[in-house]
Point group: D2
Chain length 279, copies 4
């Protein structure tokens, strides 16, 4: 016989634009919000009895209503407020998980100065966070996705295992390109979410640019270590680094050499993952 | 101090086309394969010592080489062979996880009969499976993604909780549209993977079409129960059902009624999840 | 000095679901509609004087309002009604172009029969049409996009030009895969839009499956000729056939042959275009 | 009888990474190249006689081979060289069209200075150009796509035409968000392609930020005029400005006002087009 052993539900893809109107400038945040609740909802699954369900349409309304007055100085702060709302207001809700993804906007430079009310979109990179508010406590995981970086030198890959299916040659100078995904967990309590985000991001970029890579694995380890060093409030970080291969094109059929000049993108990608924990 | 507490790596997005040439017809399979290994790879992370790394390029080669002779009667069977290859051939590999996603192709009908060597792509739906081969045993999880279904009646949503942010009215006749994602776990051992897949898929579609839905949650529960009933080898199933809202358009400003005739798609979507386990 | 030499505007991405409720079954159409007007709108561009602008929000409302009563037996018929509405109701509108793209839905089979009110999405293929209603007349262009087809044999490519940058060998047996895009123009007047669409589509698939291809160019020519033969109301057809390469994998480094069994998808794609006109 | 009235073919999606290695820094360009030829290719369509076909695989090889030595100081210059190659080397080729799209990379700042060999991806914005080299002459069209901009004030939309389907109220303060697509044509001859591109882009951004918009149409006209003013070599510019609506959320059901603070993105989008030509 079948038994319902886990359930959750919520609203995803709630798109929110918040404009904060200061006298001398406007601030702009654009977020996509997902909300997921766990709790005492089994009757809806087993009997279609919806009395305990917060409608997902209500969740959407709640996001917009709470956004009206929340200062929204960071995604983490707004996520904490949202998650607390659902748990505090409903005794039968065990936990609320709020995920936020932010599209970055920069001010358009006009005559060398940032314009107060006109913006241009930043890169594909997204600042994300996931706030879990349960009866027993709160956890904040922040992160970033789709941060594309590439170094044209200082990357090698040699001495790997060779078996019957190995054709890749050793290389001591290749392009290293990746799209950084990183999620890090904060110790309990409030932190300066924006300062921590910036410190972690800068530390990872700095290591990526400076170090001589012997493997994407090693690059990941150094980036994670630097992130933990950069923000004492971070207890753990997980990185996923796809190896977005740029392969040297063989130009010898055309009588040409190719001393690391012309490359082609190859589609299947290595994917390197690792978690570093503060001792 | 930072400590590496988890690591894994592999190759993703390996695209494979396999043609099996029978006398009277060709069979076609197109798969995208991801491979992930866990094991004794820490030296690559901490020291850039790659001696224990199976290069991800080697993984790609291995997929193509093993595909040459494998009968590939199902994604599950090929995934099991691939995962075993990496664990059996490398004492320092603790586990291999192989994920396969299949694009369906149907034969083009010509003069009322399926053509032996010409194909047309099926829907966006993907048949997927994840095979985990660890030293201590093997687990096969099969599933499907992006199976879009819609019913124009026999769906209600009433009696849900109302709070200060609730504006949604009760409805006893709405469109129910979703994109089914389902993953199910098999008991250990070999099974008729294709027959089980078909039985689970058919059972879920059958319930979706026939039942009168009181909530997406209830629909999910019935679909999961039917899936477990349809294939005794399945021990557990997890479903994710986005509620792809079709909202009734308000035509009253134009002096028109709208008795469930004209709808607009609304972007933020409910997302209902649940796991059913065989007792 | 700058001069406005062309302008047009409209609304794009209007998503419409229409349910027609018969006694024994429901019919379902899902369309995405784009509307574009040309006419006397220059004052809005040059002076911000909007008095002649039909707001794009009004266009959206109009689509939903007209959908209420239109039988919508085909995208072409609904497009004609929409385009006429904007031109007939506004003397300063010179022409209206309406583009419609339809997502196909099929009935879920239950106990061997198609269910009257439950549907499953078809393939990625889209049926499209573009209706131009100008003061001087009307033109209907129908078409399809993203019809993926593949043949595992009966495709060769030999005898092409060789220059200093040619490395491709001749082949007399390869996989031919493409994603058909076709647009065809109807002679003036009303036609049986659905019957013509089916006839053209079937003719193209039939040729694709049956013929022995000497080049994608030749395949295109045969498909276009068959389309014109299949529907006398069609005066011209344009096809675009990407060559979605499946390349034979070189397995010789692993001591294996590969007699057209294992292929890999290569990303850059040939793109072959041609227009055939009825004499 | 069917007659082939137009044909062309080529290779699309050729992804190229070019690294230029200076003593003190590396320069990086990443381009996606499409090539299309017109000429005397009818025999391939009608008879499968491929003797005059430059294989699309050869086109791909040619891109990589020419990239080896070309300085690639701009996409336009490389496009001109590529297009000339195919026309000059093949008497039966009437014209070659080369389209290039560039993904921007910026240097990672390290200790306040741009790193010489490490890069971070820019925004989604793409710099594009299309070079047509025909026997009778050459045309260069440059442009940009997916430049997302938003202004939080100084945008109105009032006084538009009202009909039976109009519900949109006038507004004198709304968010204006768009994704700029612009293509401009250069007068014949060589120009400083990079300086012109920067001048046109800056002029359009500057106008967008500064002006008080009475309609997207008016914004388009001002941006186009500014572009023509910024670069005398540009003879014509076409802009497409989707109106990426941010709609004010109605918070009155929750007892809240909403003085232009909280907005939701609405999916169907206005699309405003216009061409400005230098007199």
């Amino acid at each position: 016989m079948a038994h319902l052993t886990h359930d959750s539900y919520g609203k995803s893809g709630i798109r929110l634009t918040k404009v904060t109107r200061h006298a001398d400038r406007h601030d702009l945040r654009e977020l996509t919000v997902d909300i997921e609740l766990e709790g005492d909802f089994a009757a809806s699954y087993t009997d279609g009895d919806n009395a305990s369900l917060v409608a997902t349409d209500t969740m959407k309304n709640t996001v917009y209503a709470l956004a009206r007055s929340h200062p929204m100085e960071s995604p983490e702060a707004f996520g904490l407020a949202l998650a607390a709302h659902f748990v505090d207001g409903n005794a039968h809700v065990a936990s609320a998980t709020v995920h936020l993804a932010e599209q970055a906007w920069a001010r358009i430079p006009v005559d060398g100065a940032p314009h107060p009310t006109a913006f241009v979109a930043g890169s594909r990179e997204q600042r994300v966070c996931t706030v879990l508010h349960a009866r027993e406590g709160t956890e904040v995981v922040a992160g970033l996705e789709d941060l594309l970086v590439l170094k044209t030198t200082d990357s090698a890959f040699t001495g790997f295992l060779r078996d019957a299916y190995t054709t890749l040659p050793d290389t001591d100078d290749r392009i290293l390109a990746t799209s950084v995904t990183a999620y890090w967990t904060y110790a309990g309590g409030e932190h300066d979410w924006n300062a921590c985000f910036d410190a972690v991001r800068t530390a990872m970029l700095d290591v990526f640019a400076r170090h001589h890579s012997l493997a994407v694995q090693q690059t990941l380890h150094l980036m994670g270590t630097a992130a933990l060093d950069a923000c004492p409030a971070v207890t753990e970080i997980t990185l996923q680094l796809p190896n977005s291969h740029r392969l040297l094109v063989n130009l010898s059929p055309f009588g040409l050499d190719n001393p690391n000049v012309v490359f082609v993108t190859d589609e299947p990608f290595g994917l390197i993952s690792g978690t570093l924990t503060r001792e």
